[in-house]
């Protein structure tokens, strides 16, 4: 995945570049808004990581200029908590995303991977499948190896979100935001309990587990046999 980091703080930028490379991505860096805009226009990136406050042209300005030029590379805005306003929140509606500082790199990585593959063919399909697990979005039915799995509505939505992003790491915050529409941090790790319930329903009597915990990051659903 080719990533452009537009960030004026040299140390943060160097850290992000290094960490992205270690995760197997190609990262390039621009130190201000204008340079970032030029690079984003000239090259095809899979995703942009843009700091909210930038010299010359601020992060939202960069995204606006790109969209005016019909360049729809998904972007993740990094913003301080105090700077999250309606315009930043509006990014999610527009297919982009934001993350408040300070953040964990694992959270950032999970989000850009989901952002970059947002336009996957799975998105619009009515039937999702991972291994022998099948979820029908129309009839709201789930089967594993042909056997029906009974889920509560919220469990269904949780599984649906995980399967939509099969093979990708999904963080607890992303689940809380997308499944429960809660944009805050519940003090207890409530998500873990929901996941373990779901796991007991889909993985319990099968040799091959599909729902995996990724330490220090979140969860992923994948068919490890392949």
């Amino acid at each position: 995945m080719r990533v452009l980091v537009i960030e004026d703080d040299q140390e943060t930028a160097a850290f992000l570049k290094r960490a992205l490379k270690e995760s197997g991505h190609i990262a390039e860096h621009a130190a201000d808004g204008e340079a970032g805009l030029d690079l984003a226009k000239a090259n095809a990136y899979d995703v942009l990581i843009v700091d909210r406050m930038l010299p010359k042209l601020d992060g939202l300005g960069v995204i606006r200029a790109l969209r005016t030029d019909e360049i729809h590379t998904p972007a993740l805005i990094l913003s301080a908590l105090g700077e999250v306003d309606d315009r930043v929140k509006g990014l999610r509606a527009g297919g982009d995303d934001y993350l408040t500082k300070p953040y964990a790199f694992s959270e950032l990585l999970a989000r850009i991977e989901v952002l970059a593959r947002r336009t996957s063919p799975e998105e619009g399909s009515t039937r999702l499948s991972v291994g022998d697990l099948v979820l029908d979005r129309l009839s709201h039915k789930v089967t594993r190896a042909g056997e029906a799995v009974l889920l509560q509505p919220r469990e269904f939505r949780l599984l649906e979100y995980l399967m939509k992003h099969a093979g990708q790491v999904v963080t607890r915050t992303m689940l809380l935001e997308n499944v429960w529409d809660y944009h805050f941090d519940p003090q207890t790790n409530v998500i873990d309990v929901h996941i373990s319930r779901l796991r007991s329903k889909i993985d319990k009597n099968f040799e091959q587990p599909l729902l995996h915990t990724v330490r220090g990051a979140g969860y992923t659903i994948r068919d490890s046999a392949h």
Partner: protein, 485 residues
């Protein structure tokens, strides 16, 4: 001198000075007009009388010659009054009349004239003012007919002096009154500014003096006093926050530093280093959470998120949050029961209210376990109710835990306060203060009550106005176990 210039600068003094100037100008105009009109009227009458008499005497002269005129004038001169007469021949020799010692210039003048003449008075002669008409008779003789107008002069002098005195007294009373009123006002303003200066110097507990008369200065002082009370409260809050940050963040920071130091000091293998680093990240994440929670509370108290409001159903919010926590409750062996009113319309920020409700449930699940010593038959349960009462929407979260002693209840709502007994539980101690901040932002309150045994937290918000008519009818709670949707 500075006190005097300060006095001159006061609004009251300037106002009274301006009023005084306008009033005296009006008074002067009125008096001058009156005086002038009276004078014109009197002079006109005088002129007419003299003119008529003169014509009459001239006719006598034409009919009977100088002798008859002299006779009549002599006769008239003898009648007492203010009339003055004089007949003289061409050599200015006096033939008859009661005017004597006339100045030579008078003979040359023709028509109405004012002049002084002498008249015997008790204790010698006196100079008096007269008004007369000089008439030349055909034979070269002169006839003077006039009136003594000394009394009139006296009258106008009286009017003038009255006016001057009047204005003088007015000026004295006006300026003096203005000075007195301004001094009183200035003294109170000086009092206020002196107090303000001590407050600015750092003594926030001082209050502005209120005289008790309920006037505009009192009203101003009262509003400023309530502002000061609020500022003092905020300052106290800030001080408490910084004390608490120092106290509660120092511990984990210290722990983090010690751990890193220890890992560096002791020669160990990669696995040990990795373990130390992982724990360091955990600790840093915890610190970040605490910082974010603090920042959120600070932003809430500054009013952030206050305008981002929707019409919401409080019961729906509660059932959503309860659904999120239901597996946690089950895992801990606590029965989570919902008793929700059908529809509780409110207006608020969904995220903030959701977080507040989540915190309330989280708290009840953390601290609501029945203490093992008193567990005789009681099961741990958390009951969440929503209801409407007197224009208020209420959520109450009740547990059967150890509760909070009455003396501690107020304190628990402030930042970082965790009762000693709960120090072992994870948490920043910011949960309830965030709940309180959310309630304040929505114009509501949080109170802690005794659930006997246990703790009940009641979170109340104003009901949405449009729906008050229907919602004021108390909706019976629809009871039942939680059914995850």
């Amino acid at each position: 001198m500075t006190a005097l210039t300060k006095l001159f600068r006061t609004t009251t003094f300037r106002l009274s000075l301006t009023y005084f100037a306008f009033f005296s100008a009006a008074a002067i105009v009125a008096i001058v007009y009156l005086y002038w009109n009276t004078t014109v009227l009197l002079s006109g009458q005088l002129n007419q009388t003299i003119e008529a008499e003169l014509t009459g005497l001239a006719e006598q002269y034409r009919a009977g010659g100088r002798d008859q005129l002299v006779r009549i004038v002599a006769q008239r001169s003898r009648t007492p009054g203010n009339s003055l007469y004089l007949v003289a021949d061409r050599n200015e020799k006096q033939l008859a009349g009661n005017l004597s010692a006339v100045s030579p210039q008078l003979w040359d003048s023709v028509g109405p004239v004012e002049f002084f003449y002498s008249r015997p008075a008790p204790g010698g002669m006196e100079q008096r003012l007269a008004f007369a008409n000089v008439f030349r008779l055909p034979g070269g003789d002169r006839l003077i007919v006039g009136r003594d107008i000394e009394d009139r002069r006296e009258l106008s002098r009286l009017i003038r002096s009255t006016m001057l005195w009047g204005l003088g007294v007015m000026a004295l009373v006006g300026i003096g009154g203005g000075y007195w009123v301004s001094r009183r006002l200035l003294a109170r303003v000086d009092d206020l500014s002196a107090t303000t200066r001590t407050i600015m110097a750092g003594d926030l507990s001082r209050r502005l003096p209120v005289s008790g008369s309920g006037d505009e200065l009192d009203r101003l002082a009262e509003s400023l006093n309530s502002m000061l009370a609020r500022i003092e409260q905020l300052m106290a809050g800030m001080r408490e926050v910084s004390d608490n940050i120092a106290h509660d963040l120092k511990t984990p920071l210290n722990r983090l530093r010690n751990r890193v130091e220890e890992a560096l000091r002791e020669p160990s293998d990669e696995r040990a280093y990795r373990g130390a680093l992982e724990r360091t990240i955990e600790e840093a994440d915890g610190l970040m959470k605490t910082f974010n929670a603090l920042l959120s509370i600070a932003r809430l108290e500054a009013g952030a998120g206050g305008d981002d409001r929707d019409n919401l159903d409080l019961s729906a919010l509660v059932s959503d949050a309860a659904e999120l926590y239901e597996p946690v409750a089950e895992e801990r062996g606590i029965a989570l029961k919902l008793e929700l009113a059908n529809a509780v319309p409110i207006r608020g920020n969904r995220q903030l209210l959701g977080q507040a409700i989540a915190n309330l449930i989280d708290n009840a699940l953390k601290y609501g376990l029945v203490p093992t010593a008193q567990a005789n038959g009681h099961a741990s349960e958390v009951v969440i109710q929503t209801s409407t009462r007197d224009g208020l929407a209420e959520i109450s979260v009740s547990d059967r835990g150890p509760g909070v002693p009455e003396s501690e209840r107020e304190r628990v709502l402030s930042r970082f306060v965790r009762l000693e007994a709960s120090r072992s539980e994870p948490g920043s101690g910011l949960g309830l203060s965030l709940v309180a901040a959310v309630a304040r932002l929505h114009g509501g309150t949080v109170r802690l009550e005794d659930n006997d045994p246990g703790l009940r937290v009641v979170f109340s918000l104003p009901l949405e106005n449009d729906a008050r008519g229907t919602a004021a009818v108390e909706s019976p709670p629809s009871g039942g176990e939680l059914r995850p949707t």
